[in-house]
């Protein structure tokens, strides 16, 4: 039983894909909302994000979604899944938009991939990092259950996360640099890729999230 899944909506972009994917893998009820009362009743929270980080953060703060997120993590102690800019917003700061202070819920930085970016063979790499890349699993986290190591997930981002505490690293992706693809801390799992756009691998991860009890 997944119970109620609240997808935190701070008005930046379309959240239907995330909601439909959660429904597709069997969520009992999915609410796309920023209503504090509804989120308080939720059994799980998804913190998504697309677009430019400065605009995202100003809406997150204006709608007090940061407080709702903190409440889910530390008061409700329910499973939380952060996706893409949702993950980036939780870091300390980002180099995007000439430097932005983020929510500092996970100490670490969001860095630009660099220009020009090159792989180990000196081949030029395009930015944004757009498409299907292999995720190296660093832990045996319940959200990886049934997903083979080095499965491909869909990424689209120009900035990447580097957490200070390397013990949080649950998955990484190589793209000129080794970027954090998934971080895990207590009842939080945060991913840079888009599980809702990652076909079977992504749907398995979402299904695992619905079944997760929030323990590592």
């Amino acid at each position: 039983m997944s119970g109620i899944v609240a997808v935190i909506d701070y008005g930046m972009g379309n959240l239907h894909s995330v909601a439909s994917a959660l429904q597709h893998v069997g969520a009992d009820e999915v609410l796309v909302t920023n209503d504090a009362d509804l989120i308080r009743k939720a059994d799980r929270v998804v913190f998504p994000g697309v677009g430019a980080i400065r605009d995202c953060l100003s809406e997150i703060r204006r709608l007090k979604c940061d407080e709702l997120l903190a409440q889910a993590l530390t008061e409700q102690h329910i499973p939380v899944l952060a996706i893409c800019v949702g993950l980036q917003a939780m870091m300390t700061r980002s180099q995007e938009n000439d430097g932005v202070e983020c929510l500092n819920m996970i100490p670490g930085e969001v860095r630009f991939f660099g220009n020009p970016l090159k792989d180990a063979q000196g081949q030029r790499l395009k930015v944004p990092h757009m498409g299907w890349n292999e995720v190296h699993q660093h832990t045996d986290h319940p959200l990886w259950a049934g997903i083979p190591d080095m499965s491909r997930f869909y990424f689209v981002h120009s900035y990447y996360v580097h957490a200070q505490d390397r013990s949080l690293l649950a998955g990484s992706v190589d793209y000129g640099v080794s970027a954090d693809a998934a971080l895990a801390q207590d009842n939080l799992f945060a991913v840079q890729f888009h599980p809702e756009k990652s076909a079977a691998a992504g749907l398995t991860l979402l299904k695992n999230f619905l079944e997760w009890n929030g323990q590592c």
């Binding site: 972009g13 379309n14 239907h16 894909s17 439909s20 994917a21 597709h24 697309v50 677009g51 430019a52 220009n115 020009p116 792989d119 790499l125 395009k126 930015v127 944004p128 990092h129 757009m130 498409g131 299907w132 890349n133 292999e134 080095m150 491909r152 869909y154 689209v156 981002h157 120009s158 190589d174 793209y175 809702e196 756009k197 990652s198 076909a199 992504g202 749907l203």
Partner: protein, 257 residues
Amino acid sequence: MALAKRIIPCLDVDNGRVVKGVNFVDIRDAGDPVEIAMRYNEQGADEVCFLDITASHEGRETTVHTVEQIAEHVFIPLTVGGGIRSIEDIRTMLNAGADKVSINTAAIHNPELVRESAQRFGSQCIVVAIDAKRVDDVDGLPRWEIFTHGGRKPTGINAVEWAVKMADLGAGEILLTSMDRDGTRNGFELGVTRAITDAVEIPVIASGGVGTLDHLVDGVILGGADAVLAASIFHFGEYSVPQAKAYMAEHGIEVRR
């Protein structure tokens, strides 16, 4: 191991129906874009692209509904192009469930639309489509110019310079179609593909002219494309997406399997 090169089947949609149909043996309705998109998803396509060729306003509302249905059933990225003219059109398609929109003629009439939409919705969802045709210089050097109206109307704009400008304005990706090759099944125009992939930092999707699996390989290896888009070779069941991927992999190209 690295980022996979993408294979993107493209569907032409008119009033909510796929035109020219699709020739899959076991498909119930060859004109239903939702069923076809689901089939490509099952085959392992990396994205699906919809080109809306609907002329009427009412028809476009049907397209929005189609996009909504696809987004409910298909969990790979979906790009919608055709008739995107304003911020409002982009918002409508993104809200319906498109992951990216492709802007073509409107970018030529109003390049600021690219900047404004990239700022508002993020570069990741703004694809600029370029229809290029070869018009050699007097000295015989190849030059490619942007054409509109299905390749009939020249604009005088240099396609390579235009791609660089679009990337600077915030486009997240270029969808490059050779109007000399589109529909010919003679392969991509590799000259312009290479020239544009070398000129911009953002990913480039090659389109126009695919008739064989070798053409897909050439687009990536010789053209330098990050993704290859094709229609008829997949629609008519000549090749499946897994066959195309197996062939590309044999030629040393990273694909998702």
